[in-house]
């Protein structure tokens, strides 16, 4: 049975590879040059880096839905939490986390990572960087903090958690629909204030992205303490 499965998989993937290769070599010439269009519209976008301009100005609908996807993933992670597991950040007692080297490294890394995140956020306006990179660094800080056996601040895990998770999507949506009040299309920032709108949205997005990524890590169900899980009886 497994042998048949392997043969079928090999045949199918060879076929897909051949089809893709044919499609790559026998493709039509593109009719529009998006790079030129972006370059023409860049001065009016409010930012200097073309990728940031595409993400938050020309195709900001994608970014709005992207943060919505992150929020949905975090909500599902919260819903799938083990109801009997202790709330908040409980260090795993099986891990040797209370070592002096690890604690000092984390203490030294914390300010550096926060500064790096703020720098990446700011750099997104004129060079590679932006909200996701900054949020990923902040989330990594939370992961390192947690892995080193420290507790995250309690209020961050209870009272503020939902606010932090939803802030990015909520603010983006409010900003997007506020444009309708000024008789502009959805997500069409005013040319004069585009820079400030983009900076404001990116800052809040950073925090929400970090919160969502961290929630996906923290709320992962614990591995069963024994090596092999015992099937749980259904009531």
């Amino acid at each position: 049975m497994t042998h048949t499965r392997r043969t079928m998989a090999a045949l199918l993937s060879t076929g897909v590879a051949a089809a893709l290769a044919v499609a790559i070599f026998d493709r039509r010439a593109p009719v529009t040059n998006l790079a030129v269009q972006v370059r023409t519209a860049l001065p009016a976008s409010g930012v200097e880096h073309p990728v940031t301009a595409v993400l938050l100005q020309f195709r900001s609908y994608d970014t709005l839905l992207e943060i919505a996807v992150l929020l949905v993933a975090a909500i599902i992670a919260l819903a799938l939490r083990d109801a009997h597991a202790p709330q908040g950040s409980q260090p795993n007692p099986a891990l040797p986390t209370r070592t002096p080297v690890l604690s000092s490294v984390v203490r030294l890394l914390m300010p550096v990572m926060i500064v790096t995140a703020v720098y990446l956020l700011w750099a997104g306006a004129y060079q590679p960087g932006g909200a996701f990179q900054a949020g990923a660094v902040l989330a990594a800080l939370g992961v390192v903090w947690r892995v080193s056996g420290r507790r995250l601040p309690h209020s961050l895990l209870t009272r503020w958690r939902h606010a932090l998770l939803i802030a990015g999507f909520a603010m983006f949506l409010v900003m997007a629909s506020a444009m309708l009040l000024f008789a502009r299309p959805l997500l069409a920032w005013p040319p004069s204030g585009a820079k400030y709108v983009i900076v404001a949205i990116e800052s809040v997005l950073t925090i929400s992205i970090a919160a969502a990524l961290l929630a996906l890590f923290i709320d992962a169900p614990d591995t069963p303490s024994s090596g092999v899980a015992q099937p749980r009886e259904h009531p």
Partner: protein, 100 residues
Amino acid sequence: MSRELWFALIGALLFALALGAFLSHTHLLRRLLAFNIMGSGSFLLLVGLSQDMRGPDPVPQALVLTGIVVAVASTALALILLRRWFAATGSTTLPEDSAE
């Protein structure tokens, strides 16, 4: 052959290899890894093909960046589901696959 076209071909190869791995393995973690590599292959294909002979194009780059964020989130979610599945059943495969 330009460098971008080479990227696109490598992307197509990665996609096909990962598709084979996805179909031939039943362990859910292996499937998740294969699925991620399929995603990386399609990102490489998208960026490489759209920039072939035309220089950097920010639009596909931004699309791929968005795709990477969604891929990270969905991978983390799949891992959570996998751990719940393992905690609930003690199995790392789906019932229809473990019948083999």
